[in-house]
């Protein structure tokens, strides 16, 4: 039986000679269960209460801002003519982008058999759901008269009015709401066995009933596991094109218009790369503190962080390439308006936003070429926040610079947000963090059953068992 125990300190040994397992510290199956359920079953930590109250406070800000918006109308925002799409669309695209990491980790990395995904997929999927919830709230409140929102769906009505299915905005309604629903189904499917664990461990009657209800009577039957794994594989296979389609369709909102700076074919791949870039940054922003606060360094290891930093490096470079290519195509097209739109982005009235975007999104990820940076959690954490900021500014730059100065100088106008724009932005973080703090308190934040499958002991033909067997025979 192999006796070498890998820990936080020696896990980054030369990967050619040997490789540390994904679960460190020599934990067995029972230890993994105990480690994951501790934040749920243990006493409420003061740190958690503090985070929850802060998030709740911000959520209150969101509630007030939206209430005033609904009462007074979208005029309370800084919108003007021609900038009729302000922070609401910026925030929407920002949050949808963040929502891409969860399903990418759970679906695409699953199909590629990237076993390290098991440590982070549950929390990343939850983050996805909450980010999509934040994202959906923005078009909802942006319609102004919220009570007319059902009109976006093809519901028979007395006016015989139907939505226009040729419009990318309507595709977006379907893309984002279906993405949210499928992500929920995927997340819930993954949760069923772990809810069974919570049910079997629950001491209180209410907890046992609640977890038991949602565990659906799961009893770990292998006849069930066979169907379960088939369903999980299908969900991963379906989610893979879905996750790539969502931000593609979001980019169509812009790309199918005639506006200089928006009307480009590079938008779909560029938006998808940016979405994965920002999503992984948010996963890191959340998981690096969580692994410390909830003492899960053996499950969410430095190797996980390093792998995510590498994905940020890759997608960040793609985003940087797209920025350069946009400029090249604007020049190469020979179209005066297109050239102006890009020169104006970099050197016009919104140049400050443009250069924040460039420094956060192009320079920051390049620092991850250095291994020391990738493997030092605190540095990754700080850089991930820069990426979050940069990606918000990317959407701001795309949306506002193109609208504020289009074809006719007589229609140009400078856009600046109001206090209610700000209230909606920071308020949406309140919604996001309220949901996330509740999640880490009441549900297992690491997929217990899935982590166990990537431990070497999970294989019935693991050499440790054979060694023991041979010893017994001899």
């Amino acid at each position: 039986m192999s006796t070498k125990v890998y820990t936080e300190d020696n896990q980054l040994a030369d990967p050619v000679a040997e490789r540390a397992p994904l679960v460190l510290g020599g934990l067995d199956f029972h230890d993994v269960t105990e480690m994951v359920v501790r934040p749920v079953e243990g006493k409420t930590q003061p740190m958690w209460v503090l985070a929850f109250l802060a998030a709740l406070g911000l959520l209150g800000v969101y509630g007030l801002s939206v209430a005033w918006l609904v009462w007074e109308g979208t005029g309370v925002w800084g919108l003007n003519n021609p900038v009729a799409w302000g922070w609401a669309i910026v925030n929407f695209v920002f949050w949808v982008g963040i929502g891409h990491a969860g399903t990418l980790i759970s679906a695409i990395l699953f199909l590629f058999r990237q076993k390290w995904r098991t440590g982070i997929n549950r929390a990343a999927e939850a983050m996805t759901l909450f980010a999509v919830a934040c994202a959906l709230s923005f078009p909802t409140i942006h319609v102004g008269r919220i009570w007319l929102l059902p009109w976006v769906f093809p519901i028979p009505n007395q006016m015989w009015a139907w939505p226009n299915f040729r419009s990318p905005l309507l595709w977006d309604v379907f893309a984002v709401s279906i993405y949210g629903t499928v992500s929920l189904l995927f997340w819930y499917t993954g949760l069923i066995p772990d809810l069974g664990t919570m049910r079997d461990r629950a001491k209180g009657k209410i907890a046992r009933f609640a977890y038991g209800l949602f565990a659906l009577g799961w009893r770990g039957s292998h006849r069930h596991w066979v169907n379960y794994e088939a369903a999980y594989l299908i969900l991963a296979g379906l989610s893979t094109p879905l996750v790539l389609s969502v931000h593609t369709i979001v980019s169509f909102d812009f790309a199918t218009s005639q506006l200089p700076g928006w009307h480009t074919t590079i938008f779909p791949p560029y938006f998808v790369a940016g979405a994965i870039f920002s999503g992984f940054a948010m996963v890191l922003t959340l998981m690096i503190p969580c692994r410390v606060i909830f003492q899960m360094k053996e499950l969410i290891t430095v190797r996980h962080i390093e792998n995510m930093a590498k994905i940020i490096l890759l997608t960040g470079s793609m985003v940087g390439y797209a920025y350069a290519m946009e400029f090249f195509i604007a020049w190469y097209s020979g179209n005066d308006y297109e050239v102006f739109a890009f020169v104006n982005r970099a050197f016009g009235q919104y140049a400050w936003a443009y250069w924040i975007m460039i420094s956060c999104n192009v320079i920051t990820p390049q620092l991850f070429w250095i291994k020391k940076f990738r493997t030092t959690p605190i540095i990754v954490f700080v850089l991930s926040i820069f990426v979050n900021i940069g990606m918000w500014f990317e959407r701001f730059v795309i949306t506002v610079t193109s609208l504020a100065a289009d074809f006719l100088p007589s229609s140009w106008a400078y856009y600046s947000p109001t206090i209610f724009d700000l209230g909606c932005l920071i308020g949406s973080f309140g919604l996001f963090f309220t949901l996330f703090t509740l999640f880490v308190r009441f549900l297992p934040m690491v997929a217990i059953a899935e982590v166990k499958t990537v431990m070497p002991e999970a294989d019935p033909h693991w050499h440790g068992y054979h060694d023991a067997h041979d010893e017994a025979a001899a």
């Binding site: 093809p154 079997d200 006849r223 169907n227 379960y228």
Partner: protein, 178 residues
């Protein structure tokens, strides 16, 4: 009056022991039996002699019948009969424009089909199961591995089953009431 028996439950300590025990139970010709594990033990379906899952067919049928076809026809109907708007002189049924929504709805229905199909084939959700009467079975979602053989099985013999399962390496055996 003696209560009816559901079957026998045997506990194993690790996937390797479970795997070999399953091979024996399969070869002994038992039909109504099952293995219970905290996580999917890969390859166990061979040791148990199970067939491929039918869930993919449910998912495909749902995706096509409840997703692709109604989504496309619905959009075509809305654009050509429901409301006849001529937009930029485009045709009444521009099929290219209907692809995104058709795709999204197909994915949604395929995903719903996968989850519901999985639950349906597994006979879930259910509120109770006889195995939950066993106290040691609480570890099935943690770190223990089990084989259950139902009393309904034609080969089941209440007298000798405990001895048989212990002989396969079980660390504990229990008879479960129905």
């Amino acid at each position: 009056m003696a209560k009816k028996l559901y079957g026998a439950l045997a506990q194993f300590e690790n996937p390797a022991e479970l795997y070999h025990a399953c091979e024996h139970v399969r070869d002994a010709g038992y039909m109504k039996w099952d293995a219970h594990t905290p996580f999917p033990v890969h390859g166990l379906e061979n040791a148990m002699g199970l067939k491929r899952s039918k869930v993919p067919w449910v998912s495909l049928a749902m995706a096509l019948l409840c997703g692709t076809i109604p989504a496309f026809l619905g959009q075509a109907w809305v654009s050509s009969i429901g409301s006849q708007q001529v937009i930029s002189a485009k045709p009444m049924i521009p099929w290219q424009a209907f692809i995104p929504v058709t795709f999204e709805v197909s994915v949604l229905m395929g995903a719903v089909g996968a989850l519901l199909g999985m639950l349906m084939i597994n006979g879930l959700p259910r509120l109770h199961h006889s195995l939950f009467r066993s106290e040691m079975f609480e570890r099935v979602t943690d770190d223990k591995f089990f084989i259950s053989i139902e009393a309904q099985d034609p080969k089941f013999d209440a007298e000798s089953i405990s001895e048989y399962l212990s002989g396969l390496g079980a660390s504990a055996v229990e008879l479960i009431e129905d």
